[in-house]
């Protein structure tokens, strides 16, 4: 027991870089824009579905995902409200406080971008690996009903930038998003 703690302490002191540090770095982020390419691997399909577009994050809580291909669509999260606008269709408006499942999806990205550790820990148990220049967060939902939908979310990045976001769904489907930072605003 004592040994374990000693080892853990030694490792922590050696690396001197922890979740709190990553979160601090992220929380310093300015409004930023990035492009994304998302690939969905669904078991019912024999090749991945690809979509691409732009991501905009305005700290602390506005996230915009504008899909340009294959069909224009926008998803905007601002505070507790999520709005999906599809071309030729109605708006879909969701209050995140009422939909913990959708909220969990949103917070995995938004709270990470904002470096909001408490918000993230409320929904996920977090594991951090790697270094400040090449880190990887592994998020496992705490709530059972969420685990039934998504088993794990992995986010990788470097310093304050995100590089990939991967969702592993409970039914074996997978989604992989590659993010490339465009410019600071």
């Amino acid at each position: 027991m004592g040994l374990t703690i000693a080892v853990a302490l030694a490792v922590a002191m050696a690396s001197d870089w922890q979740l709190a540090d990553l979160m601090h770095t992220l929380s310093q982020n300015q409004p930023q824009q990035a492009t994304f390419v998302e690939k969905r691997y669904l078991s019912v399909l024999n090749q991945p579905l690809e979509s691409s577009g732009e991501l905009t994050f305005i700290p602390p809580n506005r996230l915009e995902k504008r899909t340009l291909k294959p069909k224009p669509e926008s998803l905007i999260v601002d505070g507790d409200v999520l709005i999906v606008e599809q071309s030729n269709r109605r708006h879909l408006r969701v209050n995140l406080r009422e939909r913990p499942d959708i909220s969990a999806f949103v917070e995995s990205i938004r709270a990470t971008l904002a470096g909001d550790q408490p918000a993230l820990e409320k929904v996920y148990s977090i594991e951090l690996s790697g270094t400040a220049d090449k880190w990887r967060l592994s998020l496992v939902p705490r709530r059972q009903e969420m685990v039934r939908i998504v088993s794990r979310i992995q986010i990788a990045g470097s310093q304050g930038d995100l590089a990939t976001i991967e969702f592993d769904f409970a039914d074996g489907d997978r989604s992989e998003m590659v993010v490339a930072k465009a410019r600071s605003r």
């Binding site: 998302e38 969905r40 669904l42 078991s43 019912v44 399909l45 024999n46 090749q47 579905l49 690809e50 979509s51 995902k65 899909t67 294959p70 069909k71 669509e73 998803l75 999906v84 599809q86 109605r90 879909l92 408006r93 209050n95 406080r97 009422e98 999806f105 039914d171 489907d173 989604s175």
Partner: protein, 786 residues
């Protein structure tokens, strides 16, 4: 006992029992029929049907406040469960609970091939399937795709979403702790649909107290939690009990006040009781006459009609104080007769009103006044104990005499005020009358706020536009709804209307369901076409087995009937839009506007109507409920104004014929006109817009005030007129106090009449003193009514 008195008693008893007999068999109604014109147009009939059978009238909106969110959610679930178990009272109860939402999703998913709008043979050709699959792939890659991917293998063409989209067309309330809540989260919300019509106030009243009881009896309920309710039925119940309570309270107060006043003046309980005789008799005869004339008596008529007391009590006051005070009955009774005639002339025009309540009020007032006057004329003198003397009122008379003489000196000031009043009325011309429907509404401000709060939280629209028709049976009703739906969908696509709702969305006609079944391909064909359709698509055919078997299950399965909807929220939609009536079905297709900006919320109903006409659906009528109702009341007001104007002309002619002098007629009419002008301008200056009730109040001012003016007119030349003046002041005090009390009512209906008549009769006396009464003692020629 003298034979005269015996005869009087006999007549009294006969009238009493005859009226009692009629009244006991009378149907008293308190539904909206009072507001319906006697010969309604097609659209007006539809309007009434809307209020009587339509869904709006059957909804009870419930809010639970207090406690915390968890407690409110628990109470919402408990309340919903208990109300749901009562199928006798409630068609449906919704509170947004997960179980109902799950049943809804199951219903729409399992029956998607019977319900979806696009199911046709073309949809299941290789090309049709290919196009639908391509669309689904797009949906899968989108943000909502993660929600859709679970059902995709069994529903690769996306039918469930199309059905859900139509059903959930309107915005849903937000959910807190698994049940509906207000936007601020402070209220748990439920929506209840009653089986009884909203116009059935008795039933609604039972339902309201039933819901309250059920709520109160929920175990371990936190004491700070509270139930809020609203809806057409709830508000009708609330306003009826408020009016009844208010009338009872105010009537009691004014009875006490008037009794004290009369007892103080008469100092004789016998005279006081006898004085009430014409009032009671008048009211009984009035009700009996309306019952015989109209077949039913509306409670509203009774409400208005209590005001009759204000005039009937005057007759006995005049009689006791003047005749017993020594005035000659030769001159007294003709004056009373002329006063009664004037009032009859005023009220008789109401008989021609298309507004049944006004017509009933006309008949009630005329028959009541005649009975009261006859009772005062022929029964009171006989029934009165011999040698009754009214107390000596000469000292009071002398005081009044001085006061009146001084008042006469203010004549010019009064005329200046009247001119100013005229100017005020002119300045307000065009906005004197209130054409808003809710001007007559007895609903309190607080209830209106609660209603708005619950309504916006639940997203229950006011349902302003409706396309409606009747059909003989359920199936022809649904088929016609589908035909009309084709036209309406076309209008949606063209942007004429934003959206519409149809019971056929969730329960298609059997014919439509069978044609959809027939559109589904047989197993071999389906497999072949799917194979073709999948060519070039990244979808794995082996995962779509559920789709093929679901197709066959629907193709060979049964069709949906109303019973299949039990327990879903779609059940409430169907029952509210497909209304089973005694002999037929009423179908309602609510329309929503597409317009934004200045025309927001508006629909061009003529365009919708002509589109339906062209599709040979002319009997599907489109109604703008708001405009139709506003028009209806506007027409009543317009008509009443014309009738009252005619009434004024008739009164003028009558006075001219009886007084045989233009000058005397003008002297009698002048104070009435002045007080009407002053009351009107006073109301306008207070920011009150006049309603039909104010108009009735003004008519009453003329009817009561004409007596004052006539007595002052006839009074010329009488040496001792103090008794007359005392009697007029006493009569005026009773009117002002009883109507003045009504004026303090919180209910607009009552306060409108109260303020108008209270102020008006007072001014009528003041102006009569100034303008009709001769100043000083005069040796003028003695005019009379020959």
């Amino acid at each position: 006992m003298p034979s005269g008195r015996l005869r009087a008693l006999a007549i009294l008893l006969i009238v009493f029992f005859a009226c009692g007999f009629v009244i006991l068999r009378t149907r008293f109604v308190s539904d909206l029929s009072a507001f319906m014109p006697r010969s309604p147009t097609e659209r007006q009939r539809l309007l009434l049907e809307q209020f009587r059978d339509g869904v709006i009238a059957r909804l009870v909106m419930i809010g639970i406040e207090g406690g915390d969110a968890a407690e409110r959610a628990r109470l919402s679930r408990e309340l919903a469960a208990r109300l749901r178990s009562d199928r006798q009272l409630f068609v449906g109860v919704q509170n947004g609970d997960a179980a109902t939402a799950q049943r809804d999703r199951d219903y729409f998913f399992q029956n998607r091939y019977l319900l979806a709008p696009d199911i046709s043979p073309e949809h299941f050709t290789a090309e049709g399937l290919h196009a639908a699959l391509l669309e689904s792939l797009d949906a899968l890659s989108g943000d909502a795709g993660l929600l859709f991917k679970g059902i995709f293998p069994r529903d690769p063409t996306g039918e469930t979403l199309k059905v859900l989209e139509r059903f959930e067309g309107h915005s849903q309330p937000r959910t807190v702790e698994g049940v509906w809540a207000s936007p601020d989260g402070e209220l748990a919300l439920l929506l209840v649909q009653t089986r009884a019509a909203g116009s059935d106030i008795e039933a609604q009243s039972r339902i309201v107290s039933h819901i309250r009881q059920v709520f109160v009896r929920i175990e371990d309920r936190k004491p700070d939690t509270r139930l809020l309710m609203s809806g057409t039925g709830v508000l009708s119940v609330a306003s009826r009990s408020a009016i009844e309570g208010e009338i009872a309270r105010l009537a009691m107060a004014s009875l006490v006040l008037v009794s004290c006043l009369l007892l103080a003046v008469y100092r004789s309980p016998v005279l006081f009781l006898l004085g009430m005789l014409p009032v009671v008799l008048g009211a009984l005869v009035g009700i009996a006459a309306v019952s015989l004339g109209f077949g039913r008596v509306h409670s509203l008529t009774l409400g208005f009609g209590t005001t009759l007391i204000g005039e009937a009590v005057d007759y006995s006051i005049y009689f006791f104080i003047q005749c017993l005070g020594g005035a000659s009955s030769e001159r007294f009774w003709p004056t009373i007769a002329l006063g009664v005639l004037t009032s009859i002339a005023g009220y008789s025009v109401l008989l021609f009103s298309g507004f049944p309540s006004l017509a009933q009020l006309g008949l009630y007032s005329i028959s009541g006044l005649v009975a009261a006057a006859l009772a005062a004329r022929y029964l009171l003198p006989e029934l009165m104990p011999r040698r009754t003397r009214v107390r000596d009122l000469r000292r009071t008379g002398a005081v009044l005499e001085r006061l009146f003489n001084q008042a006469a000196g203010l004549r010019w000031a009064a005329l200046a005020i009247v001119l100013a009043a005229g100017a005020v009325i002119l300045a307000h011309s065009g906005r004197i009358w209130n054409r808003q429907l809710n001007a007559l509404s007895p609903v309190t401000q607080e209830d209106q706020r609660t209603d708005a709060r619950l309504r916006s939280g639940l997203g229950v629209s006011d349902m302003r536009y409706v396309a409606a028709f009747a059909a003989n049976d359920e199936q022809s009703a649904l088929q016609k709804a589908e035909q009309a739906g084709n036209v309406l969908q076309d209008l949606v696509d063209r942007g004429v209307i934003g959206d519409y709702t149809s019971p056929a969305f969730v329960l298609p006609s059997l014919a439509r369901q069978r044609s959809r079944q027939a559109a589904l391909p047989d197993p071999a064909t389906a497999r072949g076409r799917l194979h073709q359709a999948l060519e070039g698509l990244p979808i794995r055919a082996d995962r779509l087995g559920g789709f093929l078997s679901d197709l066959q299950a629907t193709r060979n399965g049964g069709v949906l009937t109303r019973a299949d909807l039990d327990g879903t929220s779609a059940e409430m939609l169907v029952d509210s839009l497909l209304v089973r009536r005694e002999h037929d079905f009423l179908v309602l297709l609510p329309l929503r506007s597409a317009a934004a900006g200045s025309a927001a919320g508006q629909i061009d109903i003529d365009q919708v109507g002509s589109a339906l006409d062209q599709a040979r659906l002319a009997d599907v009528r489109v109604v703008d409920i708001l405009e139709e109702t506003t028009n209806l009341f506007d027409n009543y007001l317009r008509e009443a104004l014309i009738l009252v104007a005619i009434g004024c002309v008739v009164i003028g002619g009558l006075l001219l014929a009886c007084l045989r002098s233009t000058v005397r007629t003008l002297r009698v009419v002048a104070p009435l006109a002045c007080s009407v002008a002053c009351v009107t301008s006073a109301l306008l200056l207070c920011g009150v817009q006049l309603t039909i009730l104010h108009l009735i109040g003004l008519l009453l001012v003329v009817a009561i005030g004409s007596n004052y003016a006539l007595f002052f007119d006839i009074d010329r030349g009488i040496e001792d007129r103090s008794q007359v003046q005392v009697s007029l002041v006493v009569a005026n005090l009773t009117a002002v106090s009883s109507f003045g009390l009504l004026g303090f009512s919180r209910i607009p209906l009552l306060s409108a009449i109260g303020t108008t008549v209270g102020l008006g009769t007072f001014l009528a006396l003041v102006f009569s003193v100034m303008l009709t009464r001769p100043s000083g003692y005069g040796g003028l020629a003695r005019p009379s009514l020959e």
